[in-house]
């Protein structure tokens, strides 16, 4: 197990290096630097500023310094747009917010998605099944950027029950709509995966044997069927995490929750490359980390997989 984890962590290194170097080169090939504006600066001033941010060093040295900074101190350098803030400060401000509603959405999606999928599979071809399948298809064509305005229309403008945006330290009325908007589409995906995988398991031989020896349905479900049926769901959870972080961009923008997605879009619109790179690399790290956890979980549940 330990050897497996170490091997996986080692294989993450080239991925991160590719990501860092790629985004760094991309940033440097951009036409117009972070300090070019409508009113051009005098060349001496520009040279001074570039020297301050080490933009006049040879490119390999810049990459090397950046990689060393990121790896040794987790330092993404200064923001190019806000002179008095570092990328770390900007990320540090937004990330807890994203993490809070992201985690809640994740739990909601997994719990409700699994429940819906199980219900549909156990009552196959009844109205319950059709309802569950209908919900999951419907949720798939309503991505979060469509859900968000519809929710605001209903709950804020028509009913006036919930605030239309803001964060307010994560008070629950401010959490409800972001969580619903973010979790719905992958709750639907989880429900679909759960349904088809549980159906397949329920039709397999060992379940028939369990039935034949007279086990009650509840025991069959929880002791025999659920564990193998969970496997495809678990392997979906890795990509889910990425979808969640990506989705948070819309949530932040629409509900002005002030998470990391808002910082990303703002920096994209302001050409604040260092913040964009920092967030991209951070999300890359989290993705790799999450995929690792999913792999370990997978191996732990499925005894057929040897590490």
């Amino acid at each position: 197990m330990t050897a497996f984890i170490i091997k996986r962590l080692l294989s993450a290194i080239p991925t991160l290096l590719i990501l860092i170097i790629f985004s760094f080169l991309l940033m440097h090939s951009a036409p117009g630097g972070p300090f070019s504006s409508d009113r051009p600066l005098p060349p001496e001033v520009l040279a001074n500023i570039e020297a301050k941010y080490h933009l006049d060093d040879p490119l390999p040295l810049q990459i090397w310094n950046y990689v060393v900074g990121v790896v040794t101190q987790f330092d993404f350098g200064p923001s190019f747009q806000y002179k008095d803030r570092t990328v770390n400060e900007i990320i540090g401000q937004g990330f807890p917010v994203t993490l809070t509603y992201g985690t809640i959405s994740f739990v909601v999606a997994v719990v409700f998605g699994c429940a819906l999928g199980m219900m549909a599979a156990l009552k196959q071809n009844t109205w319950l099944d059709y309802l569950a399948v209908g919900i999951s298809i419907g949720a798939q064509v309503l991505p979060n950027f469509v859900m968000a305005p519809i929710l605001v229309l209903i709950f804020t403008l028509w009913l006036g029950w919930l605030p239309g945006g803001g964060w307010n330290g994560g008070a629950w009325p401010y959490l409800i709509m972001p969580v619903i908007a973010l979790s719905t589409s992958f709750m639907a995906s989880i429900a679909r995966i759960m349904r088809s995988s549980l159906l397949e398991v329920m039709h397999s031989n060992f379940i028939r044997t369990a039935r034949a020896k007279g086990l009650p349905s509840r025991d069959i479900l929880f002791q025999h069927a659920l564990k193998p049926a969970m496997l495809p769901v678990i392997s979906y959870l890795g990509p889910t995490f990425v979808i969640m972080i990506t989705g948070s961009v819309v949530i932040d923008l629409y509900f002005t929750t002030g998470g990391i997605g808002q910082a990303f879009v703002n920096s994209a619109l302001n050409r604040d490359y260092s913040v964009m790179m920092g967030i991209t690399i951070l999300v890359g790290c989290l993705t790799i980390f999450f995929n690792l956890i999913v792999d370990i979980l997978y191996a732990w549940i499925d005894p057929k997989i040897k590490l």
């Binding site: 294989s11 951009a30 064509v141 305005p149 972080i245 990506t246 819309v250 990303f264 490359y273 967030i279």
Partner: protein
Amino acid sequence: MSDTAIAEPGHEIEGSGQGRSLWQDARRRFLQNRAAVISLIVMILIALIAIFGPLFAAWNNEEVDWNVLGDIASMGGPSIENGHYFGVDELGRDLYARVVQGTQVSLMVGVIGSLIAVTFGTLYGATAGYVGGRTDNIMMRLVDILMSIPYMFVLILLLVVFGRSMWLLFVGIGLISWLEMSRIVRGQTLALKSKEYVEAALATGVKHRVIVTRHIIPNLMGIIVIYATLLVPQMILTESFISFLGLGVQEPNTSWGALISEGASTLQYGTYWQLVFPLAFFIVTLFCFFFIGDGLRDALDPKDR
């Protein structure tokens, strides 16, 4: 499963082999799936609107109707009399013309994006699977590495750095999703490679190139068509997402995502039609593609039922 093939033995003899009979069989199965057929018809209608829609528009998508500009919430609604079938947007532009234009862009992104993804993914996956060994190992390792890169963020980075152009968006979206495709194709190729007829072809001295084009690719077609259909809505979703953020297509061009974003931001002024019309096109199209994809899966891959 193969009872239909037995029922129609005539097709086995004529033509150049089993390939044709599979496709005829698949067409029959597809036509029996009512949801898929209706979706296909609706989809064709939407495509026709995208192509011929501008002919029926009373306004073009850049003209501003000064008559309604002053009071859009009460005068800019959908009406037949002044030629704004879907109403106008907050700048007094005809929404029908804009929705038609957005439909063109969104459908084009979907189709071109998934063509790029499918072509690239198939070539890559088939090469890795057929060559096998060391090459396969290295190629699939690379796919593994690329898979854990947060693509949406990289795509936005690309769009910001190189400026927003529609072609960059198309190519970028296409290049996001060839990875999954290449994995599927590789797995399928590996399975096909060890089939007896490939072995027989090899034994009789058929060239590798001919084996790939004559035996491997035709057998991959089913799965390629299914995934291509399921990719289109994903592409449309990705493009809409990027346009929603204001990083996609630029004015005066538009797309469903951009229109939905506009409609959502002006909802509070009571101009509901700005959200409803683009949203309806968007949702109906996605539904259609999902049902067509499902129908194709049932038709082409009957053992998967």
